[in-house]
């Protein structure tokens, strides 16, 4: 029997097919972290493209494969799309070799975004762990650009070793901004480190925010986010005030391949940004 007629008459765009992006610049941040600045080759596509902070693209390296990567540039900067990537494996190591003028495949944007529109005038806590947390950089820049729309901005970041911190100057610049506080912690430090030592959760006594009018955005390893959720709940935030971004294996990014399933959620389309209550049944639970 014919499937639902409403689907048959228009030829839908093929959501599996990448568009072409041109590399404008490949900036090395550290020996294994780099920022790719991309532009759609087709000006019409460039004009149509719009994303929200927290969303990601699928980047395709011809002949090698496709990987999900968050967008770090500002949504209002049309015509350029920045991705900060850590070279960890097959695809990302080849992406690292790209030079200005090279062409790659791009599909997106995909997934949910940080709840920027719902949090006007609230304090925003951005809590990250691990190396340079790309999915929240766009949020920080977004808030900094629209500073009066939000309350206090508190940026907390934990790294393993103080040498791992990328964008050091950037953190110092943010710290100097009005109504903004940066708190950094490293497990292992060198004498030059003038921030704190310990875990990101050890920073809570150093920062101030109004728990009843705050929103927390978490990004990092799940063990770190899980410890942070516990700490935030103890400090008076409700579960609904907590948002986090997740990573799962992604083959398609369009809700078809099944790899990103987390309980009943598809991280690629229901996430990657989730309100904590939505995922708490399986969050950081073995096997999910």
């Amino acid at each position: 029997m014919l499937m639902d007629k409403k689907l048959t008459n228009k030829k839908p765009l093929n959501p599996y097919l990448p568009a072409i992006a041109t590399v404008l610049e490949n900036r090395f941040e550290t020996p294994d972290i780099f920022t790719l600045r991309l532009k759609f080759k087709d000006p019409q596509l460039a004009g149509q493209y719009h994303f929200e902070p927290g969303q990601f693209n699928m980047l395709y390296m011809p002949g090698v494969g496709e990987v999900p990567i968050s967008i770090v540039s500002d949504p209002d900067d049309i015509h350029i799309i920045d991705h900060t990537i850590r070279a960890v494996g097959r695809v990302t190591r080849v992406l690292q070799q790209l030079k200005a003028g090279d062409e790659i495949g791009i599909r997106g944007p995909y997934g949910s975004s940080w709840p920027m529109a719902q949090i006007k005038q609230q304090d925003v806590l951005i809590i990250t762990g691990g190396l340079g947390c790309a999915p929240v950089v766009s949020v920080i820049n977004y808030i900094v650009k629209r500073r009066s729309d939000f309350g206090r901005l508190v940026i907390m970041q934990g790294v393993k070793h103080s040498n791992d911190l990328i964008w050091k100057d950037q953190y110092e610049q943010w710290d100097a901004l009005d109504n903004t506080q940066v708190a950094l912690a490293a497990n292992q430090t060198t004498p030059a480190w003038n921030w704190s030592s310990g875990y990101v959760t050890d920073l809570f006594d150093e920062v101030c925010f109004n728990p009843i009018n705050s929103i927390a955005m978490l990004c990092g390893p799940e063990i770190m986010m899980s410890a942070t959720v516990r700490e935030l709940l103890q400090r008076g935030l409700s579960e609904a005030q907590i948002w986090l971004t997740m990573e799962r294996n992604m083959q398609c990014a369009i809700g078809h391949c099944g790899h990103c399933q987390h309980g009943s959620k598809f991280v690629c389309k229901d996430g990657p940004v989730f309100n904590y209550p939505v995922v708490k049944d399986w969050f950081f639970r073995e096997g999910f």
């Binding site: 011809p62 496709e66 003028g101 294996n249 809700g255 078809h256 391949c257």
Partner: protein
């Protein structure tokens, strides 16, 4: 009002369908049933029937039998014809530093499937929901699905692994077909369920005699369905979805893991499983590459891999993902369970793990459930 046709006249239907469609039907191949191209009635497995048990699948032959459709299910239903085990998605060409993408979609001759069962028809609807009715439409699935002509068949017998009666998906085909056959001793009862089906029936009536179904034939049809409804297996008559999602630490998961080989056969034969992976096949001269998708299973470690870490490494976690996805999370994703009771995962499990039995043990009261 239904019609009946003589068994030999099914050939006329195959002829009509083959004019405009690629016609596939349930043929015997590799000692099971496989939907393959069919043009002649004589290709159908007259006299064959199947016998299925946990970990066991056997075909029997009876030279006295007048039945063409006595094999209930084979290892696969119609899924491989729509959601292909391997599908070329697109290719990329490199030339002087520029790249170019070409989608691998071409005009397809419409497909007609003959002999689809109620359980597989229900599973087809689940795949439609997944691939066509969410935010993104899958054009590769759609190209085969759009003009699919379905000749369904009611079951007149069931095997020991069937439990479609308890999932509510069979054995009677109730909708979503173009034509529906019910096989009787001497005839087929034939009825249409769509505009396209009525058109074909119309053409058919100009070539062969269509008889009005008699009361006896009606009764024989009902007897066959009643017989097929007598099933030894069933899913527990309990709120399985809620119970499972609250019993993630049940000891039974460990006991299953002692038997389960994590081979993934259950997911490969399941008509509703949709998981797949994508990979590249670069041309040898490096001028381009083909991007392919291939069926995948949540029983593989790579399914849950992210740089340096597998979320599901243990067999217990694989089996729990499969079972909770099918019977719990599917409800939230698609409004019903992901199982249509075809029983394939029971028969094709090399160690004979029986999903209905495991559900019974996991959902029974009182439980030894410990939450963590």
């Amino acid at each position: 009002m239904y019609h009946a046709i003589k068994k030999k006249d099914l050939q006329a239907l195959l002829d009509i369908l083959n004019q405009s469609h690629q016609c596939v039907g349930p043929l015997v191949s590799e000692q099971t049933l496989k939907y393959s191209s069919i043009s002649k009635l004589s290709q159908l497995p007259l006299g064959y029937s199947d016998q299925q048990q946990p970990g066991e699948y056997r075909l029997n032959y009876n030279s006295q039998s007048s039945y063409y459709f006595s094999i209930t299910t084979g290892a696969q239903g119609v899924k491989p014809w729509l959601f292909k085990p391997e599908q070329k998605l697109w290719s990329v060409n490199k030339q002087n530093g520029s790249i170019e993408f070409n989608e691998a979609l071409s005009e397809q001759k419409p497909l007609a499937i003959v002999g689809l069962r109620a359980c597989d028809l229900a599973a087809l609807k689940l795949q439609d929901q997944h691939f066509l009715q969410q935010q993104y439409i899958d054009p590769y699935y759609a190209q085969h699905r759009e003009n699919l002509f379905i000749v369904a068949v009611n079951c007149h017998r069931s095997v020991d692994t069937c439990f479609c009666a308890s999932t509510g998906d069979g054995p009677e085909v109730k909708n979503a077909y173009d034509l529906l056959l019910t096989e009787l001793e001497q005839d087929f009862v034939i009825q249409s369920g769509s505009e396209a089906g009525r058109n074909v029936l119309e053409i058919l009536s100009s070539r062969i005699p269509l008889h009005i179904v008699t009361a006896e034939q009606e009764q024989e049809k009902q007897q066959g369905l009643d017989k097929a409804s007598q099933q030894v297996r069933r899913i527990p008559d309990r709120p399985v979805a809620q119970l499972l999602s609250h019993r993630l630490n049940h000891q039974q998961w460990n006991r299953i893991a002692q038997r389960c080989l994590s081979c993934g056969n259950c997911t490969m034969v399941c008509p509703s499983c949709f998981c797949h992976k994508e990979y590249d096949e670069p041309a040898l001269d490096l001028t381009g590459s083909t991007h392919i998708r291939q069926w995948d299973s949540c029983f593989t470690a790579e399914h849950s891999y992210i740089a340096g870490f597998h979320f599901r490494k243990e067999t217990r976690q694989h089996y729990r993902q499969w079972l909770t996805h099918k019977f719990a999370f599917w409800h939230e994703q698609y409004g019903r369970s992901g199982c249509t009771g075809c029983g394939r995962c029971i028969s094709w499990c090399p160690v004979g793990i029986d999903v209905t039995e495991e559900l019974e043990l996991l959902c029974q009261e009182p439980s030894c459930y410990v939450d963590g």
